[in-house]
């Protein structure tokens, strides 16, 4: 789980979160017993309306402003460590 969430947890943290998770699962047990066979899933609350906007060209932020918070920026790009060997 921590691997999926891209977190490194200590033994103590794992024990703590495991305990929280177990209690969370227990407390929600009733929730999972409710018969919802004929109930639709809520995707959006409120009144439905068209989500489309007109396709117009608008100004966007200048590149240097977009990059201003980058921890490492080189030649107008975000720089990251090597990716390939790691994932394959």
């Amino acid at each position: 789980m921590a691997e999926l969430a891209r977190l490194e947890l200590s033994e103590e943290e794992i024990a703590l979160y495991q305990q929280d998770l177990n209690r969370f699962v227990q407390s929600g047990a009733e929730l999972r017993k409710i018969d919802t066979d004929n109930v639709s899933r809520t995707a959006y609350v409120g009144r439905a309306f068209s989500l489309l906007r007109s396709d117009e060209v608008a100004e966007s932020l200048p590149q240097e402003v977009v990059l201003q918070n980058g921890p490492k920026v080189v030649d107008g790009c975000f720089r990251v460590p090597r990716v390939m060997e790691d994932e394959i």
Binding site: M1, A2, L4, A5, R6, L7, E8, L9, E13, Y17, D20, L21, R23, F24, S27, G28, E30, L31, R32, I34, T36, V39, S40, R41, T42, A43, Y44, V45, G46, R47, F49, L51, R53, L61, V65, V66, Q68, N69, G70, P71, K72, F78, V80, P81, R82, V83, E85, D86, E87
Partner: protein
Amino acid sequence: MKELAHKLRTSQVSSVELVQHYLDRIRAVDSDIRAFLYVDEDGAIAEAKASDERRRRGEPLSPWDGIPIAIKDNICTVGTPTTCASRMLENYYSPFEAEVITRIKQAGMPILGKTNMDEFAMGSSTEFSAFYITRNPHDLTRVPGGSSGGSAAAVAAGEAPWALGTDTGGSIRQPGAFCGVVGLKPTYGRVSRWGLVALASSLDQIGPMARTVADAEILFSIIAGHDNRDSTSWPNAAYRVMDAVPDNLKGISVGVPEEFFAEGLDPEVACSVRQAIKMLENLGAEVKPISLPHNIYSIDTYLTLVTAEASSNLARYDGVRYGLRVEAPDCTTMFKKTRTKGFGPEVKRRIMLGTYVLTASHHEAFYEQARRVRTLIAQDLEQAFSSVDVVVTPTTPTTAFRIGEKQDPLQMYLSDSYTAIANLAGNPALTMPCGIDRKGLPIGLQLIADHFREDLIFTVGRVLEQSLREVEAGGEL
């Protein structure tokens, strides 16, 4: 606020004087309360000078031009930090501003600073801020509530006339109740989320926090409106402040869900809210019992959805484009080390729970089931509004608890037992003070209305507030 606007209009006070008054107040009390993460003295004074200049030329941008405001630190502003009270964004300066900030500026309002909160808005006490805790102005040993605890405390302590907060499961209303201020969670889609750092996108809304219902209504009218950069923004979202409210509530029906007065509710809170309901009846409202039977599942449903959405939304903090980065020889290790160092314990807890409910083997039983139960919870409210205009409940089960009192995260989550329903169903809901308990702590009452019927909430709220004030002043009920 109308009084302040009048004084500005008739030159009895200048915006610079007003801003200086609040900056002085912040300097005097904020070392104890710590409502602010960042105070923008120079920026606020500069904006106030510009406001005074506009008024001299007879060209104020709005009646509220020159009245300052405080902003929760998960709303993007340009030129001041936006940290979400997290180490992850400690040095983050947003390259763009939130739509609500654009609207605040278009109204001419100087920004005093950014207020403290639980990290990434995850919490109900502001104790989870990565920087420092905020204290309740009514009792410095107690929490202000959360996650908009800084905004609530700032308004309660007179450090700002009003503020913006955000509400995903009760984060405006619970601190509003704990600090004795008014706060509105608007209808989902009524206020743009553009520039709000996302916690749970299907639940988040930005809303006003103020000292009176009338002030909250004014601030709501400034920030509400359509924005095509938020695909969930409603086309007819704009709101106009009502010129006058009636002096009674004849013709208005009020629903009282008995489930909200059951086990777990502090007797003093129950008593105070019931007295206020009696007052509504005396004002001419028709009070009816209603039932919201699925609300008992709202906290578990809410937790499932909020952790799922948060774990997904917070995947963006990977050390690549902004925020903290911990260097490592490969990308995956860099992601892990960055996230491990940048996130606090509550954020990690929720990311872990959210990851769990979204895993292939659990998402049907947990996440999808929660989405279905959400529908049932929303149907309860829909049903209620076929027979009543507003629903009245306590805002929170208790008044403000002591700092450090709730060590158990699952206990802390119960603070939102009465508020999460409005986020799950998308309805507008307001908290307003309705009394104080024996410890001298404020008690909050919640008004919920049908989608886009903030007008009904403000009508009932303003009439009730007037009546409560008369009683407080010694008048007869």
